[in-house]
């Protein structure tokens, strides 16, 4: 417990949010990537966030059952990236070079509007974490001046 751990917490939040922004960028970039089969088509990717508990970082405390819920936590981590299983868009485009025998082309299940909203949300959250870090920094700098004239 110290001001230093706030840096770790805000840092983990920034990492998680920038990864989310990364997946959003990837989804938007690939929104029009056509393919001739459902297996090869790009699918929207979403990161899954999970909270880090302090007992995870400190293995000596893991044995204590009543301790699992204690502690303020130690930030956020990305547990993994999942692909959306929403339906792919099937368009009839016989002239398309990637069209299959029936003349259909598969487009990714990326919802551009949703991705844009996600982008705004993650950049806001990122900024918020930067603010937290700045506050912690000024708090720390303040304590260093203790006892000075």
């Amino acid at each position: 417990m110290s001001l230093g751990s706030i840096f770790d917490i805000a840092g983990s939040g920034m990492t998680a949010q920038s990864l989310r922004l990364n997946t959003t960028a990837s989804n938007i970039a690939n929104a029009e990537t056509a393919s001739s089969s459902t297996e090869q088509t790009y699918r929207a990717r979403k990161p899954v966030f999970a909270a880090i508990q302090q007992s995870m970082l400190n293995p000596s405390q893991q044995g204590l059952a009543f301790d699992s819920d204690q502690g303020p936590g130690a930030g956020v981590r990305v547990e993994g990236i999942v692909e959306s299983d929403a339906e792919l868009q099937m368009r009839y485009q016989p002239d398309h070079p990637a069209a299959n025998e029936e003349g259909y082309v598969f487009y990714p299940n990326v919802n551009i509007v949703e991705e844009m909203a996600d982008m705004m949300s993650s950049s806001r959250s990122f900024q918020m974490n930067v603010d937290i870090m700045n506050s912690a920094k000024s708090m720390m700098q303040r304590i260093l001046t203790l006892g000075q004239q």
Partner: protein
């Protein structure tokens, strides 16, 4: 007569420590603002200060073994509670980012105040020591 610096500084050092702890909890809430199923937490500051005052009065218990319960002022996180959400959310997250940020800022201000008090104490002691 021994001079106890701990006593000279009064409750302010505990207050400052409590503020740092609360800042950590609130920072964690904000970092997990988008984590599904995360429950926002906060520290009952009043309970923490009451405990600190109790510890200062000299009736605290001594721990002779590491698995003994820590009854020291800042030891156990028994003041660490869960926030009651204003409205339910689909993903089970109870963090209200705006409210948490306001609380964080306010906590930082309270930290400044505690620091100012503590700094005053230190300056006073320094003056007394230099005897001018």
């Amino acid at each position: 007569m021994a001079i106890s610096l701990d006593k000279a500084l009064g409750i302010h050092q505990h207050a400052l420590e409590g503020r740092v702890k609360r800042a950590e909890v609130l920072a964690n809430n904000l970092a997990n603002a988008d984590t599904p199923g995360y429950k926002a937490r906060d520290i009952d500051f009043q309970a923490m200060m009451a405990k600190a005052q109790e510890g200062m009065s000299g009736f605290g218990m001594t721990r002779t073994h590491e698995s003994h319960m820590d009854t020291s002022p800042m030891g156990q996180d028994s003041e660490l509670l869960y926030r009651v959400p204003h409205q339910p959310s689909v993903d089970g997250n109870t963090v209200d980012a705006q409210q948490e940020q306001t609380r964080f800022m306010r906590n930082a201000m309270d930290y400044q105040a505690s620091f100012q008090f503590l700094n005053g104490k230190v300056t006073g002691i320094k003056k007394a020591l230099s005897g001018q």
